[in-house]
């Protein structure tokens, strides 16, 4: 009974878990933690369609299938009729041990999905991933996207623009003492772990799996006494030559203060 119940309805159960999770994320405006908001509408529409079909299937689909009948070995007459049609009837007689493993793993998958999507709170990627994916690598990769300063309005630049500018320019004079304010989480600068940290954000193209860290180095000796890695901070100040690293610029902060993680922690 349990075996056929699980093997029959695991897909519908997973559908309902995901549908509830996605619609709740959308309703609480947290879908952006996982995917680029550009795809949110499509995701919500398809999810509603999936959920509707799952409910319709519960009402309309036969409770059991010939297939499971075989598995339980209930009915000889069926066996006959079907081995006639089905070349693989032999392969479908599943031993009790294998059936138990199958049922158990299906339960584990459904339970795991429910825990991951319904019980654990939604979360932002941590600084661990930012360190692994390396702010400097992103800066090199995205170099061609750096905004041009000529005729641009610096107040429209986001943290990813400033990160590329800081990485590519050596001469602070070009910025004419523009005051900037940046919010992000703290991740360490590998070459200068004690005197500098990055104000970091993840840049998402499609979904969190392609997240790339962008960061502006902040020169603040002894920062570890005030902040720890992964804390959210707001820094204001001007870009200037990095005192420790001769290439590139760093934010010489007027003020750096703790802040709460914003509702929209990623840039897109």
């Amino acid at each position: 009974m349990l075996h056929s119940l699980v093997s029959r309805w695991k897909g519908v159960a997973l559908t309902l878990v995901s549908v509830v999770a996605v619609l709740w994320l959308a309703a609480t405006e947290q879908l952006g933690l996982y995917i680029n908001p550009d795809y949110a509408a499509f995701t919500v529409v398809m999810t509603i369609i999936g959920g509707t079909l799952a409910l319709a299937a519960l009402a309309l689909a036969p409770v059991q299938d010939d297939h499971e009948h075989h598995a339980v070995g209930a009915d000889d007459e069926h066996e006959h009729e079907h081995s006639h049609h089905v070349p693989a009837a032999r392969a479908r007689r599943v031993g009790p041990a294998r059936r138990r493993i199958r049922t158990a793993s299906a339960i584990v998958i459904v339970a795991g999905a429910a825990v991951a999507l319904l019980v654990l709170p939604p979360a932002t990627l941590t600084a661990r991933t930012a360190i692994d994916r390396d702010v400097e690598v992103t800066a090199a990769e995205l170099a061609a996207d750096a905004p041009s300063l000529a005729g641009a309005d610096p107040s429209t630049f986001d943290i990813s623009d400033w990160a590329l500018i800081a990485n590519q320019f050596d001469d602070p004079a070009e910025f004419g003492g523009i005051k900037i304010e940046l919010a992000g989480f703290v991740s360490p600068v590998p070459g200068d772990p004690d005197d500098s940290f990055y104000i970091t954000r993840f840049k998402i193209t499609h979904c969190a799996i392609d997240a790339r860290p962008v960061g502006v180095p902040v020169h603040l000796p002894g920062w570890r006494e005030q902040f720890s890695v992964d804390d959210w901070v707001v820094g204001t100040g001007e870009l200037a030559a990095d005192p420790t690293d001769q290439d590139g610029l760093a934010l010489l902060p007027g003020t750096v203060g703790a802040t709460d993680e914003p509702g929209q922690p990623y840039v897109y």
Binding site: I35, L55, A59, D65, P122, T129, A140, A143, T205
Partner: protein, 346 residues
């Protein structure tokens, strides 16, 4: 389709046996109760951004969930199209219209993605539907491999990202077409193509041919079966993709990028590991454009949509492990050859 004798027997059995009757309103009520229960769990669990989990575990969950959430709409879309194909496409519609010659047939089939633009996770359910509608195993593989690359969305995003630079767009299209047809040809020569399919899927095909239920009920049953096959695979594939992201350091891959031979294999390995959708993988690899050679990028863009951890889990619902090993080997060798050739020419 079905001989009348079977139909009558089935009807008789359906009234006689309770497990074959649908649940009707009771089923709907159960469904709504489950939805309410899930919603209650989700709303009532404290939304505390606490540090209960280690960072690595937390990121594993976040990354895996993001793959699920990103793929899910495409999987649903694929399932809906697959059901539509099976319910409303006359059985011989495709087989009648396609050219009789095997090579031409597969060439046409590899262009079906232009009409049915689903990215690769949605393609597996769709390919299953086409397989049940009379495509051979080799032809369905050609569709499965070609459609994610030869589809308008992928082509447009690739053009946006690379333009005509280094012939990347052209080689992606040509490579995808040639490899998909090569694989289709190889598997079309198999003496017993049904043995390439998993027994469970063979059984589903056979059942399909002997089905006389009404259209909504058949559709409902297909939805139950397709989600039971696809979603566990999607969750497992996503968990593997998330785990590898956390476990394998990115440094290693990137240091390989400058070597004309190793860069090709490094990016193919990366494509296998990151398991991105073909519609957007190009934006991801654009990031490597400055560090990796063009051949490596072509190999990434051709190999990734065809084979990756998530796709293997999804395809395992339909093809046997042995078949998938052979398929992976052929696609990997061909993509590597293409990538190396582009690097040599560059």
């Amino acid at each position: 389709m079905t001989p009348p004798t079977t139909t009558t027997r089935r009807r008789a059995r359906m009234t006689a046996q309770s497990p074959r009757r649908p649940l009707g309103t009771i089923g709907l009520a159960i469904g709504l109760a489950v939805v309410a229960l899930f919603a209650a769990i989700r709303i009532l669990t404290p939304e505390d951004p606490g540090t209960a989990l280690a960072d690595a575990v937390q990121d594993f969950v976040t990354l895996s969930a993001s793959v699920v959430i990103e793929s899910l709409p495409f999987v649903f879309l694929g399932i809906v199209l697959s059901i539509a194909v099976q319910l409303w496409l006359p059985p011989d519609f495709l087989t009648r219209r396609l050219p009789a010659n095997g090579f031409l047939r597969r060439a046409f089939i590899s262009l079906l993605g232009i009409l049915l633009p689903v990215c690769e996770c949605g393609n597996v359910p769709l390919a299953r539907g086409l397989l049940q509608r009379g495509l051979t195993v080799g032809e369905s593989m050609t569709f499965l491999l070609a459609a994610p690359i030869l589809n308008p969305v992928t082509i447009i995003t690739t053009y946006q990202a690379f333009g005509w630079q280094d012939g990347i767009l052209v080689w992606r299209i040509v490579g995808g077409f040639v490899i998909a047809n090569l694989v289709g040809w190889v598997f079309s020569r198999h003496p017993d193509p049904m043995s390439l399919l998993t027994p469970a899927f063979q059984a589903a095909c056979a059942r399909e041919h002997a089905d006389a239920a009404t259209t909504p009920r058949r559709g409902a049953r297909m939805f139950v079966e397709e989600t039971s096959a696809m979603l566990p695979a999607l969750f497992v594939g996503s968990a593997i993709a998330g785990f590898i992201q956390v476990a394998v350091s990115r440094d290693i891959l990137i240091t390989l990028g400058q070597n004309p031979v190793l860069s090709v294999f490094a990016l193919m390995l990366l494509a296998f590991v990151v398991a991105l959708c073909s519609n957007v993988d190009v934006f991801f690899v654009l990031a490597f454009g400055s560090t990796f050679m063009p051949g490596a990028i072509v190999a990434f863009l051709v190999f990734g949509p065809m084979i990756d951890v998530k796709m293997l889990a999804l395809m395992r619902t339909t093809f046997t492990t042995r078949t998938l090993v052979q398929l992976t080997a052929i696609v990997a060798l061909a993509s590597a050859a293409l990538g190396l050739a582009v690097n040599l020419a560059a």
